[in-house]
Symmetry: C2
Subunit: 459 residues, 2 copies
């Protein structure tokens, strides 16, 4: 066994403690009240990089939360790898559904429960620990490593594009590894070769100037909830397709190779359904659930609110009603074009009597594809095959990691998903957790991946 | 001037103080956490009746909040009048739209601002003060007066029916005056001869067992918000009519006399619209706004919620979505039948993949009509004509006072609306207020009405 791997085993309890500490920071990027927590989280993370033994560690400012940057310069003939992750997390509501407080990490039965455990703090910390173990046991890393940890992934990385543009030279590299994402299953490695893009907005419906008594006015005045329901209901067709004019115009058809690779993925719809507690699936007609998630676009409602939601009854016609919407996009959809289609569609279906306001809450990102036979994918496949004793499957993720497209545009470098989350880990939901076994696997895999990339194609 | 009227003028500042105190109790009947406040409010109100000089004052228990009961027994040959009001109030949200805290009464420019100021604490307290003034100045009331103040009107008086049934003898009377309701305008008295009925429920949509990441699942799994929007959007037709099968079957057509009386009401649609801050009205086609509110049924959404409603973005497919619905009914609709129609309709339009739960949050009440030439209406018309120097108009209220139908069923006695709220007073909305001038007018009117009823038809 590699010496750094023994070191990882010997010191694992310390590393779990570090993760536990990391998870106590309520680094919710979407909520302004956590602004200060974001900075504290970034500082703590920078300290971890310093303690790992990196020579250059900095907080780099953006218009939003800082980027945590760390660098180990190897000899000039070695390649450079950049490792990406994000230290921000999703909001925690509905808080009452958490069995333990979301920022008081709780360990039980190989799992650590907390907001951000899987997405992305556990995954992010693994390569830092791998580097620390290598530096402790060898005094150096086998190639140049640059760490870039952002604090705005969960709000669509609004400032990363300009940050990367400003720091092109510093961030120059041969390959990017993303510590955000996951494996196919606990015993089945996977490599992500596609991600969906995203765009999103909030619709604000305004009726009367204030809430009205539903008895004294009901029947004569517009009801913003009714208007909103009409607008939202008109956004899908009965067959599950998105009803926006032109929405599918730029959607690249699924090709035979994609279809064949996807069909090979071990997937049982019945099991998937049961695991989610659903009595039925109901995606776009003519596509399998995996195709619906990985290769087809979707329009989803993320939140709706208006009027009275307390216990019992309040006979009110609310002045306002609101909804949050995001679309997940596939090649070659343009997020700005889709938002424009959405706005046009809503304006065409807007009922009388209410006014409609818009907020763009997601800057938007195009979908991402990386060639299956890219050298980074080949290296990752080798490492994963050795660890899992079986070769990886190729996956298209339904989620969005906007930075992948940004890296490709700005640095002209592909990003390889190299992370160890699993689908049941309740990311973006109450009781998020990360497997401590995955946490350790990730550390070993990252160490071996650095060695493999340093050795080059011949390894 | 009647002596009790001078007394009212001399002591008005004390009575305003009493109202102010009354308004500090957060007697929100729909919220379980205010259970204790309900009892305190009832006790304070009972004390007011005692201080007014009533001989019998009791808190009478129900399955819910107590009834405050007070009685003044006059000579046997005098008629008996029962005065009804409610000491509970609507919830206060959205709290951030109140300019002053809802239970810290604020007086400015002849108006007292607080939750319940107009609906119904100001109106309720006026007859208590009128009785107090008469008892101070004359030592007696001119007829037998029974006060019945309930604490559950804002949740549909769920326990009043059985309470009245159990207390039929005690509550026996010749006429009921309701201190809940209002006048047409500040300078135009009105008598309410119709009220709409009500029924209501909450729809609970359940999708997956927990919130899901909208990227990793979006496209393959049902979205409860989408299901709810589809269900709600199917409840109305494009022409504004309610789409439930059979909803209009039992609706009594508007007759020519009603239409003519209503057409006489001073009403300007443009002004109505502007006052509410609306750019358009949008009720059922073929009816005027007054007809839509007073004589036609409506189905209104009172609240909707599900998923993420904080600032920014949370890319979640929520596990649940909810809506609160109430219908306002006209003769001869049956609230239970309408709820059954609603449930059938929703089940027929329910999308695949979600399950639907129901909660009946409003027991329901039929619409109410009192003959225009009822002796109680004639007496009220005389009193109002003298006070306002013009005769009252006849009104159909869009709201519901379920107790009116209960009194008619259980006691076989009609209820005359005798109250002084005005439509702009923001009842059921933020910044509710009551005019102090109306408060005093109500006191005088109640005193005169008691004299008028004691004198009988000949007066």
């Amino acid at each position: 066994m590699n010496r750094f791997e023994s070191y990882l085993t010997e010191h694992q309890a310390e590393f779990v403690d570090a993760l536990r500490h990391f998870l106590t920071f309520p680094s919710v990027s979407s909520l302004p009240e956590h602004k200060g927590d974001m900075l504290e989280t970034a500082r703590w993370l920078a300290d971890q990089l310093r303690q790992a033994g990196l020579e250059t560690v900095e907080l780099l400012s953006t218009k939003g939360n800082p980027v945590v940057y760390g660098e180990w310069p190897a000899e000039a003939d070695k390649p450079t790898v950049l490792i990406y992750g994000h230290y921000d997390v999703q909001p925690v509501d509905p808080l009452d559904q958490w069995r333990h407080p979301p920022f008081a990490p709780y360990v039980s039965d190989d799992r650590i429960y907390a907001r951000g455990a899987s997405d992305d703090k556990g995954n992010l910390l693994a390569p830092v620990i791998a580097a620390a173990a290598m530096l402790k046991t060898r005094g150096r890393l086998p190639l140049t490593v640059k760490f870039l940890f952002e604090g705005e992934e969960e709000i669509g990385s609004p400032n990363l594009d300009s940050f990367i543009r400003r720091n092109r030279d510093r961030l120059a590299c041969d390959l990017i590894l993303s510590a955000d994402g996951g494996q196919w299953a606990e015993d089945q490695p996977g490599l992500t070769i596609g991600l969906r893009g995203i765009c999103g907005c909030q619709i604000d419906i305004q009726g009367a100037g204030s809430d009205l008594h539903s008895g004294h006015y009901g029947g004569a005045v517009p009801n913003p909830i009714r208007a909103l329901a009409q607008i939202l209901a008109a956004l899908h067709q009965a067959d599950g397709r998105v009803a926006l004019d032109g929405f599918y115009d730029d959607v690249r058809e699924i090709d035979a190779r994609e279809k064949a690779l996807m069909a090979r993925l071990p997937f049982e719809a019945a099991r998937f359904k049961t695991a989610l507690g659903l009595n039925d699936l109901c995606g776009e007609a003519g596509f399998t659930p995996l195709e619906q998630i990985g290769l087809r676009p979707t329009l989803e409602f993320n939140g709706i609110w208006g009027g009275f939601s307390g216990a019992g009854l309040k006979t009110v016609i609310p002045a306002e009603a609101h909804a949050k919407i995001t679309c997940r996009l596939v090649p070659d959809q343009d997020p700005r074009r889709v938002i424009a289609q959405l706005q046009q569609h809503v304006e065409r279906h807007a009922p009388r009597g209410v006014s409609i306001g818009w907020r763009y809450i997601e800057k938007g990102a195009r979908a991402y594809r990386v060639p299956l036979d890219h050298p980074g994918n080949r290296a990752a496949a080798d490492v994963l095959t050795a660890i899992y004793a079986k070769p990886p499957v190729y996956m298209w993720e339904g989620g969005s990691i906007p930075v992948t497209s940004i890296f490709l545009d700005q640095l002209n470098v592909y990003t390889i998903g190299f992370s160890f989350g699993l689908d049941d880990e309740q990311y973006h939901a109450p009781n998020e957790f990360f497997r401590l076994s995955s946490f350790k696997t990730a550390q070993i895999a990252y160490g071996r991946m650095l060695d493999r990339l340093a050795a080059g194609e011949a390894a």
